[in-house]
């Protein structure tokens, strides 16, 4: 792996959440149980790409995102940003590195302070991070701070399509539409000029027509600001329109990873195949024929032995219950964690 190419490298990442124990469990000193939300995940994100992390609910995708941003301490494993291990940084250094990362979450209403105007909300990060530098460098003096902040914020509002910016600046979140609110969240994330943006289901709450506009905006901003996205979603259909590379997660593990056209065009893992087949197509001429795997994702407290998908897998053989498959590169840049994927090449 070329170090300089990757903005993020993740090695053998694990996050176990302890289950709440009852008094009786303690008394009988029963073994503590854990939800293995993320259980040995390795991947890297290249600078300037849109890297998709896709999975059903409970697959651990959101936890991976939170771990990368260090909103959560990993149980095990390493996360390197530009080769620097974030786990070894002190609080102060971590805070500096965090400026290079921002997040956009699903619910824009929950992400915005209801008692702060849109402009103040977006400008908050400017006051904290950028203005001090500007004063220090003598670019502006203290008296000009408010004018400067407003100018920076309004410029960003124009860029994300929150127009007329001067008018919307003093509005409160509840006075905006859902699409506008998500634009405000995007503006707030980008205003501190981050390099990596975690986008966790950023368009899941929006309607079809608004989704297209938000996706389009995110792609445009990515080029404009030279951003790297970690795009987390359960929606395989919209992922197609934004992601360049994609990783499919199942029960805390990555089962397949590769360039999106490769993975979608020729999925090598039986789970990926089922997932792609299951997505309903908006064309009645394309009704699905293929049968679906039985059952649902098992719980992550006692995941199945061996390959975690084996109880539902149509091509499982005896050793799948015993041997856990590792990611193997079956095509250049296309990795799959399955013992018997060669047949799909």
């Amino acid at each position: 792996m070329n170090q300089t190419d990757n903005i993020i490298e993740v090695y053998n990442l694990k996050k176990y959440f302890p289950l709440r124990e009852s008094f009786l469990d303690n008394l009988l000193s029963r073994e503590r149980q854990y939800v293995r939300a993320v259980d040995g995940v390795s991947f890297s994100i290249r600078r300037g790409e849109v890297f998709g992390l896709v999975g059903e609910s409970g697959s651990g995708k959101t936890t991976v995102g939170r771990l990368v941003l260090r909103l959560e301490e990993p149980t095990e494993g390493e996360i390197l940003m530009d080769g620097v291990n974030l786990g070894q940084l002190g609080d102060k250094e971590l805070r500096r590195e965090r400026r290079r990362m921002q997040a956009i979450f699903q619910d824009p209403f929950a992400s915005l302070n209801p008692r702060m105007t849109i402009g103040d909300g977006i400008g908050h990060g400017v006051r904290i991070h950028l203005i001090q530098d500007m004063i220090a460098s003598g670019e502006i003096n203290r008296g000009e701070v408010n004018t400067k902040v407003r100018a920076i914020v309004e410029d960003m509002m124009e860029r994300v399509g929150l127009t007329p910016a001067g008018f919307l600046y003093d509005k409160f979140p509840h006075q905006l539409s859902g699409g506008q609110r998500q634009r405000a969240v995007i503006a707030r994330a980008l205003i501190t000029t981050p390099e990596l943006v975690l986008a966790d289901e950023p368009i899941a709450m929006a309607d079809v027509s608004v989704r297209v506009l938000l996706l389009d905006l995110m792609i445009r901003l990515q080029r404009e600001f030279n951003l790297t996205y970690l795009y987390i979603t359960h929606d395989l259909a919209t992922a197609k329109y934004i992601c360049e590379r994609i990783a499919i997660m199942y029960l805390g593990r990555i089962v397949e990873i590769g360039a999106l056209p490769k993975v979608y065009g020729k999925p090598l893992h039986p789970y990926t195949q089922a997932l792609l087949e299951a997505v309903p197509v908006p064309d009645p001429e394309f009704r699905r024929q293929a049968p679906m795997p039985k059952g649902e994702i098992p719980d992550a407290i006692n995941p199945p032995s061996g390959c975690r998908f084996h109880p539902r897998c149509p091509i499982a053989r005896e050793n799948c219950a015993a041997d856990e498959p590792e990611l193997r590169e079956l095509e250049p840049g296309h990795f799959v964690a399955c013992h018997y994927s060669e047949q799909f090449l």
Partner: protein
């Protein structure tokens, strides 16, 4: 009313009283639901599709009111029934499945109790034993093992909870099932399993389903016909292959081009400008005219009629309705919808 029409809705309007004045969430909606069909009802949030679904069961709660309309269900106008009579129609004749089964099921009642209670409420003579036997049989048919009957809702997965909801609709052999975003909270594979199950059940139980959803893919997968709703009005209605394959209304056209399609090699989506209107002060004329790429002068002045320009394909758009620019005729609401 033709024998194949199970539910005939005519000029149904529902208003909500808000602080800012009355809001019409369904505006003179007319449509027929045919016996044995799956009718999809699609639209974006706030278009009134859920309100319409509730109104069909007369379940609109204050501050909402049905202000006008006829609801001819199996030859009977539900608007003329007393509350007591209506309660018997709900559940026994028309059942509803909602998006979130966790809030629709009683958390302190086992699955078995849910089903037997439903049976015993509507069928006073049935013995508890018989009701329990029926529950076991039904649940087994839906792919839930009998030992889970004593479980409580929180012990089931999302997919299983939604199966229990369907089983409640099926116990009394309801003629019409209204599924309001029933698959929205499910993961794709579970959603696909659920759609497979509905497909099998509709054959077996001769079900009629009104499938209300924002998910165009789900409608394409399961429906025979589809109705498209925009800003409290129906804008298009017809065979699902016709409406999705050859949409007539500019809104439907835009919608279809902006829906992601995983099977296409195309990586561009159509951007529909603007956003749905405020329903307290809706635009005059056609409600889509401020966003319509084909807008004409008449569109902002007069409301288009909901007319059939091809057999069994209805559209509310002036493009297909020859009109005199100087003397635009009054909008009409078709009675054949």
């Amino acid at each position: 009313m033709p024998a194949d029409v199970l539910y005939r809705v005519r000029n149904l309007s529902v208003d909500y009283n808000t602080r800012f004045g009355p809001l019409t969430a369904a505006d003179r909606v007319s449509l027929d639901i045919h016996r044995g069909e799956v009718l999809g009802l699609v639209g974006e949030s706030g278009c009134g599709k859920s309100t319409l679904g509730k109104a069909l069961m007369r379940m609109v709660q204050p501050p909402g009111y049905i202000t006008s309309g006829e609801l001819w269900f199996d030859g009977q106008d539900l608007m003329t029934l007393s509350d007591r009579q209506m309660r018997d129609v709900r559940g026994r004749r028309i059942a509803m499945v909602f998006q979130d089964p966790m809030t629709s099921l009683n958390p302190v009642q086992s699955i078995l109790d849910h089903i037997t209670e439903t049976i015993l409420t509507h069928e006073k003579q049935t013995k508890i034993k018989d009701a329990e036997a029926r529950a076991a049989e039904l649940v087994d048919r839906l792919g839930i093992t009998a030992r889970r009957l004593d479980d409580y809702p929180h012990q089931l997965s999302g997919g299983m909870r939604q199966r229990v909801m369907i089983s409640l609709a099926l116990t009394l052999q309801a003629d019409l099932v209204i599924a309001d975003e029933a698959t929205t909270s499910l993961d794709v594979i579970v959603e696909a399993q659920f759609l497979d199950m509905l497909r099998a059940l509709r054959q077996e139980f001769n079900l009629t389903i009104l499938l209300i959803t924002h998910n165009i893919g789900v409608v394409a997968e399961l429906s025979d016909r589809v109705a498209v709703m925009y800003a409290a009005k129906l804008v298009e209605l017809g065979d699902v292959r016709e409406v999705f394959g050859n949409p007539q209304h500019p809104y439907t056209q835009g919608l279809m081009k902006s829906v992601p399609n995983i099977k296409l090699q195309d990586y561009e989506l159509y951007k529909m400008e603007g956003s749905p209107p405020d329903l307290i002060v809706p635009p005059a004329g056609c409600r889509f005219h401020p966003r319509c790429p084909h807008v004409m002068e008449i569109c902002s002045q007069h409301e288009p009629g909901f007319l059939s320009h091809q057999p069994d394909h209805y559209t509310a758009c002036w493009i297909y309705d020859p009109h005199d620019e100087a003397l635009p005729r009054q909008a009409v609401t078709s009675d054949q919808a």
